[in-house]
């Protein structure tokens, strides 16, 4: 007979601790409520914005608390971990969740600028909130199966968003996106089944405790499966084909949301599972990780150079960024992990903003292909500034945000003192140069070059919609610039957060396993 103290947490839960789970619950219930409200005019927009603002408020509180007093956790249903599902926020998780909410807010506002009155019923706001819920859950959960569930929430919400509008190209892209991504989560599930069969647990802290004593070959197999699954989600080479196949097809807001959130969650999951949970297996897989990091870094920007479809080209830049984060996983020193974390933060903001700008460019020129664009430098100063700044940020040019993670990752590579580290650093440099070449060519073609003769330019849209769209995009770009100029807060966070990843004892302690810490 099991007594209550062996099964349940006996200390009372402070209301303030709820900030770790409220963001997710708010998103889910908000999505549900928005769905119920979807036939009531423009109400869902205001509602969704309120929800996201509340989520941001919770997450700011959460981040400050984690910063002050270490990781914070809550185990659902009062069951002691590992029996219940734990949610646990460390700096990385909380920070990314907050960033995701911020870009979601920007995307919601931007989308309002181009949505017609008849668009109210398509469930857009519900799906955006669900996507945010999935992303938030993925960043904060402390249970691997629960991570699978949030992955699926994110995936299905993205399915809904990617087909909004239903043009043929979208459907084609969605078929590729759908099959490959669902396959990735199926692989994840496969790995989970095996992991459960090996370890008998799903709680991350508990896995940390028992994994070292399990059959190393089988654990390595599971780790390889996780690498494959998360590599697909993160669009790492060579399983990244779904991204350039799909990201340019849906409405630009949707691309923006995806670019900011989806691959980042995948790469974050890889960081967590390989670096934090299964470090021994990660060491075994290191040659593979280095290889895919190199390939992703070097091949992705080539796509950006080759592509003339603006959003497709940006998609390759997104993949190149994934290569950067992979460097941090392949070289998980303090600098490497910090760089990977900072890069994720940077990429969430920058890639979203870049796609929003792409949307603005597309609606300004009426074209999606850069071969048919031109003349925007003279026509629109704000667009020029936004695009220019964001491309530089993507290429890691200082003083924009993208520089700092690149710096840390280069430090990590060079700090290895091995030829592998040097190779990785060289790949980062080449990636930066190729990215800049791609960006400057796009800039020259879309902005500097005069518009091709006979190009049709749609008339300027109504003023208020412009304000919403430019405001949202500009706000994100402003964050990118400001955070690049004053990165001290970020580094403070990294100083607290990165060691927690390499030595998760504080994280484990916060979860508070039954039977004490390992």
């Amino acid at each position: 007979m099991v007594e209550v103290p062996q099964a349940m947490i006996e200390t009372a839960t402070a209301a303030a601790d709820w900030v770790v789970v409220l963001p997710l619950v708010l998103c889910l219930m908000g999505a549900a409520a928005a769905l119920m409200l979807r036939k009531s005019g423009g109400l869902t927009f205001i509602f969704a914005v309120l929800i996201v603002c509340a989520v941001i408020a919770c997450e700011v509180t959460l981040l400050l608390r984690v910063f002050d007093s270490g990781p914070l956790s809550m185990t659902m249903g009062k069951w002691l971990p590992p029996f219940g599902i734990s949610f646990a926020a460390d700096i990385f998780g909380a920070g990314f969740a907050l960033t995701a909410a911020v870009v979601t807010l920007a995307v919601l506002v931007y989308a309002q600028g181009e949505r017609g009155a008849e668009d109210g019923r398509d469930g857009f706001h519900s799906m955006v909130l669900l996507l945010l819920a999935g992303v938030t859950g993925s960043f904060l959960t402390g249970d691997l199966f629960n991570l699978y569930v949030w992955f699926e929430v994110m995936l299905i919400a993205s399915f809904g968003l990617i087909v909004l509008g239903g043009r043929p190209a979208q459907l084609d892209g969605a078929v590729k996106y759908g099959f490959l991504n669902f396959l990735a989560t199926t692989f994840f599930l496969l790995a989970l089944g095996l992991l459960y069969g090996l370890l008998g647990t799903l709680n991350m802290a508990d896995i940390l405790r028992v994994a070292p004593s399990a059959n190393p070959a089988a654990i390595a197999g599971v780790a390889a499966l996780l690498l494959l699954a998360f590599g697909m989600k993160a669009a790492a080479f060579p399983v990244n084909a779904w991204l350039p196949a799909a990201y340019h097809t849906p409405p630009a807001v949707v691309s923006a949301l995806f670019a900011g959130l989806l691959t980042k969650v995948g790469i974050y999951a890889m960081l967590r599972s390989l670096v934090v949970l299964l470090p021994a297996s990660r060491d075994l897989l290191e040659p593979v990780l280095v290889a895919i990091a190199l390939a992703t870094l070097l091949i992705a920007p080539l796509g950006a150079i080759a592509e003339t479809n603006l959003r497709r080209a940006i998609g390759f830049l997104v993949i190149g960024g994934v290569g950067s984060v992979l460097v941090g996983i392949a070289v998980p020193s303090l600098a490497g992990v910090s760089g990977a974390g900072l890069y994720i933060f940077h990429a969430i903001l920058t890639m979203t903003a870049l796609y929003l700008v792409a949307g603005l460019i597309e609606s300004r020129t009426g074209q999606t292909d850069s071969r048919q664009m031109g003349g925007l430098y003279a026509a629109s100063a704000p667009l020029s500034v936004l695009f220019f700044v964001l491309v530089l940020a993507t290429a890691g040019v200082p003083p924009f945000l993208g520089f700092w993670p690149k710096l840390l990752l280069l430090q990590a590579g060079l700090g290895e003192g091995s030829w592998v580290g040097g190779l990785v650093a060289a790949a980062l440099v080449v990636n930066a140069v190729l990215t800049l070449i791609a960006g400057s060519r796009l800039w020259a073609h879309i902005f500097w070059r005069a518009a091709p003769a006979g190009a049709l330019m749609p008339p300027a849209p109504p003023r208020h919609t412009i304000w919403l769209r430019y405001g949202a995009t500009g706000a994100l770009a402003a964050v990118v610039v400001a955070a690049g100029l004053w990165p001290n807060g970020l580094f403070e966070a990294l100083r607290v957060g990165a060691p927690d990843l390499l030595d998760p004892s504080r994280y484990v302690a916060a979860i508070g396993l039954a039977g004490g810490a390992p």
């Binding site: 007979m1 979208q170 084609d172 969605a174 078929v175 099959f179 080759a306």
Partner: protein, 125 residues
Amino acid sequence: MDYVLAILVGCFVALGVYLLLSRSVIRMLIGMTILGNGVNLLIFTAGRLTREIAPIVPAGLDQPDGPIANPLPQALILTAIVIGFAMFSFLLVLAFRAYQSLDADNTDTMRVAEPVNEPNPPLSY
């Protein structure tokens, strides 16, 4: 008997993979379903098999009066089945709409998002 099921799981996975490579969207969907079933069976097997004893505590008792099947994998599989079904529904309708819009159910001919014979990138500045 676990090993027999392990082999059966392999068969499910193999057929799922084979169908997923078939280029016909509906066959791919069927392959996805079969692969999903295989994974569910894998979780079931990984949780170790027990014959016939459902994890249900008989009425009036506080605990089952004998060994029971492992309930946790069952709960996990239930979640996975539901999610798999949701995904299946979506992908099916997607295939249907793609067929209507693109007039194709063969991935070979679905080339709108990434067109065949796209011109080379312009050699200019």
